[in-house]
């Protein structure tokens, strides 16, 4: 689904729109307003972190000033400081994920599609990633479509949740509403309840 929204794949049936634009009919327009972070995304091993951000920023503006602003944002979001001068091949998984998140958010897209942004990360990196996503949504007004198997993470981060089971939405609403609906203390329990009854 996220790959369809990101214009990578075509839907076999049905349609999808982002802010009123059809993803199949006008993929070029969609690519201008979204930013996609795949679950297993990688970065160019032989570029430095800074070069990577610079390379990516270049596609979103022709203005040097705006590109510099985006890179500054990227540097801030990644929190990698001087490690950004090193080649990406030397980065840990967590560092790479922070760099990729910075790439996805630095241009302030209308919609950031983040697939399992903290999957496989240690506590420290996972905390940083969650914190940056939350801050960015609150401060910059960016809409984030986040997918995760970690229900506690979803409960902590999301304003609106859709629980999916085998490709079908089984519950939708604010986390509190879903928890109330299933009489659960947290979203993980709600999911278990929803799938039991679903």
């Amino acid at each position: 689904m996220l790959r369809i929204l990101s214009t990578l794949l075509s839907p076999t049936s049905g349609s999808a729109e982002i802010f009123g634009t059809d993803v199949v009919k006008d993929p070029d327009k969609i690519r201008e307003i979204i930013s996609y972070l795949p679950e297993e995304a990688g970065a160019y091993q032989n570029l430095s972190g800074f070069e990577y951000l610079e390379f990516m920023a270049g596609f979103y503006s022709d203005s040097e000033r705006q590109i510099d602003e985006m890179i500054d944002e990227g540097v801030k979001i990644s929190g990698l400081d001087e490690r950004l001068d090193e080649r990406i091949k030397g980065y840990s998984k967590g560092m790479k994920r922070r760099l990729l998140l910075a790439r996805a958010l630095m241009m302030k897209p209308k919609l950031a599609i983040l697939d399992e942004p903290t999957s496989g990360l240690d506590v420290l990196h996972a905390f940083h990633v969650r914190k940056m996503i939350k801050e960015y949504v609150d401060e910059q007004g960016v809409t984030v479509l986040l997918s995760s198997h970690n229900m506690l993470e979803v409960e902590y981060m999301c304003h609106r949740v859709a629980l999916m089971d085998e490709g079908v939405i089984i519950a939708e609403g604010e986390p509190v509403e879903i928890m109330e609906k299933f009489g659960s203390d947290n979203l993980e329990q709600a999911f278990m309840e929803a799938t039991r009854f679903g």
Partner: protein
């Protein structure tokens, strides 16, 4: 251009910073070929030295007066071991204990045969101890001495015969009544040079050009395949495809980046190869004595232009072919294995045309070769070099058509989700070219029928 440039720069950085590519494509040819040339040069020089300094043994069974002149001649300026023995068998066993590599056996009756105008027979034995090249050429020094002696002996006999009959003919003209000199006609110009002496020209248009085209193409194919496979292996392709940049721009960036690196690799290869040829052949000065410039040949401006256009189309077609193939792989290793098959249509024409010309080949082979696009790259290069511009343009037209077809296929792959989803296990050419709408409706039908 705005989005293309960063993509090209990124491609070049990624490829050039990869140690495997830097070492294998650029540094290795610059180091390996000169080393190989030096090694061949050293071994050839030592062979030559061994041949020059080789001593030889003489076993003489003749006791007549004429053989003395031959023995005097052989002993002059040479290290000759005289073997005293009762039979040739004994002489051979003594010879085997010496350092000499060659034994000259002068048979009994030599003097008498020469004096009476009959052929005098001799035999040369070579002792092949370690079966090296030097040993197989060890009889050369004795042969050379005997040939010179033979020539002057013949002249002296002719002179005697002529003076007996009162003939005033030139003895050298009697011995060799016909004198042949050679000239070469190239592009309609008569050059007072034997064709065998135009080594540089033959080397450059028959061997160096096919090698250059072949090497450059192979580099380009490997670069492009690696570039796509790296994107897939490192999971960067998906991100790249969601950026607000045209798919054709991404494809062009990949092509341009790979062209830059492969041209750099080809230049490094040619520099290394020239050093190799120069140092490997330097032991034999006559082989490098003449080059293209010496015989007034060389690429004219139109030839340079056609050569450039030809190389451009050849590279783009090779790259597009490699990119199309590499799309169906998941990692660098399988991409390189798969594109390894492209060696066949690239190498076969190059090797055949290195040693033969198209019109010399049987018609079937000729037509098969002409059907291979990369044959035309070599034909066009040769034709541009020799000024046959019509042939060059024809070949370029063929490769250009092929390039357009391959580029179309690559563009099709890049513009659909095939670039993400394509695998050899699910590859169907029909599927590749089928319209998106038709494909979707078929999938929907199969879904509904389940």
């Amino acid at each position: 251009m705005g989005d293309l440039w960063p993509l090209v720069v990124k491609e070049i950085k990624e490829l050039i910073r990869d140690p495997k590519i830097l070492l294998g494509v650029i540094l290795m040819p610059l180091i390996l070929f000169p080393l190989m040339g030096s090694a061949i040069n050293i071994s050839q020089k030592s062979v030559m030295q061994a041949m020059i300094s080789a001593s030889f043994a003489v076993y003489n069974e003749d006791e007549g007066p004429v053989v003395e002149a031959l023995l005097d001649y052989l002993h002059r300026n040479n290290t000759v071991i005289t073997i005293e023995a009762a039979s040739i068998e004994e002489a051979v066993s003594i010879f085997l204990e010496t350092n000499a590599t060659t034994l000259l056996h002068i048979r009994e009756g030599y003097s008498q045969n020469v004096s009476e105008g009959r052929k005098a027979n001799m035999k040369v034995y070579a002792n092949l101890k370690s079966l090296t090249v030097a040993e197989t050429g060890s009889t050369d020094s004795v042969n050379r001495l005997l040939n010179v002696y033979n020539y002057y002996l013949a002249l002296s006999k002719i002179e005697d015969l002529l003076s007996e009959t009162g003939d005033t003919s030139d003895p050298t003209a009697v011995r060799s009544p016909i004198s042949v000199s050679y000239a070469s006609i190239i592009k309609g110009n008569v050059l007072e040079v034997a064709p065998s002496a135009i080594f540089g020209l033959i080397m450059s248009q028959s061997i160096m050009l096919p090698i250059m085209v072949m090497v450059m193409l192979m580099f380009a194919i490997q670069m492009a395949a690696t570039s796509i496979a790296i994107e897939k292996e490192q999971k960067t392709l998906e991100t790249l495809m969601t950026l607000p940049v045209g798919r054709m721009t991404i494809l062009s960036g990949k092509l341009a980046g790979s062209i830059v690196i492969s041209v750099a690799g080809a230049i490094a290869y040619m520099i290394g190869f020239s050093y190799y040829m120069t140092s490997a052949l330097s032991f034999s000065p006559e082989m490098t004595s003449m080059n293209v410039g010496d015989v007034g040949l060389g690429l004219q401006p139109l030839g340079v232009l056609l050569l450039g256009v030809n190389i451009f189309f050849t590279l783009v077609s090779g790259l597009a072919l490699a990119i199309s193939l590499a799309t169906f792989t998941d990692n660098v290793r399988s991409a390189q294995s798969l594109t390894g098959f492209l060696v066949i249509p690239v190498m076969i024409p190059a090797i055949i045309l290195m040693f033969s010309d198209l019109h010399m080949l049987p018609p079937t082979v000729r037509w098969v070769l002409l059907a291979i696009p990369f044959t035309h790259s070599i034909l066009a290069s040769k034709a541009a070099f020799l000024g046959n511009y019509t042939v060059a343009v024809g070949s370029i037209a063929y490769i250009a058509v092929f390039t357009v077809v391959v580029l179309y296929i690559a563009a099709r792959i890049f513009s659909t989700e095939r670039i993400i989803t394509a695998r050899f296990t699910s590859l169907s050419l029909r599927d590749l070219f089928r319209g998106k709408k038709e494909r979707r409706s078929q999938t929907w039908r199969s879904h509904r029928n389940r």
